[in-house]
Amino acid sequence: MAAGPRVAVVVFPGTNSEDETLRAVRAVGLQGELVHWSQPEALARFDAFVLPGGFAYEDRIRAGAVAAHDAVMDPVIEAAQAGKFVLGICNGAQILAEAGLVPGTGPLRLPTAAFAPNASGRFQSVHVHVKLSVTLDRVPILGGIEDGAVIPAWASHGDGRLAAPADELARIERDGHLAFIYCDRHGNPVSAPNGAALDCAGLVNRDGNVLAIMPHPERDGWTFQHLDDSRDVARGDTAATLAPSGGIRFFEHFAQAVRERFSA
């Protein structure tokens, strides 16, 4: 395998999105590998980390709570503190919040915010768009992303509602931790389908190297997964149907950031 930045896709018992996440990571040219929770020592050789979606430890106690205290998170937390990039998607985002890495305004593993049960009280699976809602300097983890970028994704969770005390929500908004909000396909803000405070779809830490996003861009990363006309236009053309597009842009920016940091 060619030399280049290595990205660990960390698998917990109950993770269920590791394959499509790994596929997205590899599609943008990164050397992705699955690393299981029982291999924390293996993480030392990676340059960046992705915590994929699923139900780590069956969401026992709270979504992400047990995984946040798992030994495999020790090197992930150390890497985050050392400035390496850490991306959490859906359950991965819940784990990052429970680990205190996002918004990262309090002590480690003593969360100041949570992706709490949806306001509906139910699991929801709905196609969404999310919009970058911070200035570009706040998200070095998404290298080259454009101001106000709109990313298509699937929100598919039972616990995606940002919840925090009022002063913490004010801090999240004021200090640029509100990385993504829900929007329509044109970028116009819409209410979060899960009732999230601030209509939050994603949080970033102070240094912009840890990003937690609830919807799954990797599930809308290929033409055949799109809900718009592009899927119908491509029908009958295998190459076009299987072409990366849409949510894969999110991973392209992640890859750019990882490459730039790796080369530095």
């Binding site: 026992r60 100041t112 915010a113 709490a116 925090a164 913490e168």
Partner: protein
Amino acid sequence: MIRTFVVSLTIPDNEAYTALETLGRLGIDSSRVVRADVWIFEGELDAGLAATIGSIESIHNPNKHRLAERQADRPEPGEVWIATRDEAPATLVAGRALPGVRAILRRTAWRLLDDQGRDVAPAVLDRAVETFLCNPAFQVAITQ
């Protein structure tokens, strides 16, 4: 009127065991963790409520659950209840209304026991709550 029911597992409780393991990793010494679901019903409650609840499998499956009524809607000594801070009371169970029930609140009850089967010291339980069992961003811990 308020009536409180506690539903606990009669089979091994994987969630409680996971909590025990995680608390051990955090250095919180306990030999056993006991967990239960708490259901609090408010309204003009029917005398047959317990039997009704006992027949709703999503609350109480007789093959693996024990259903008991509590006299108080507060935790017992040595116990902590975790609630969602901004919980909107439900009115339906498994999609159906129950006679006279105006509101349904849910809690998770936790109890930590030492190797003699006694409750751990309150300070130990407090530490378990603060470091793991409760996320204060959206939850609240209720003790006696």
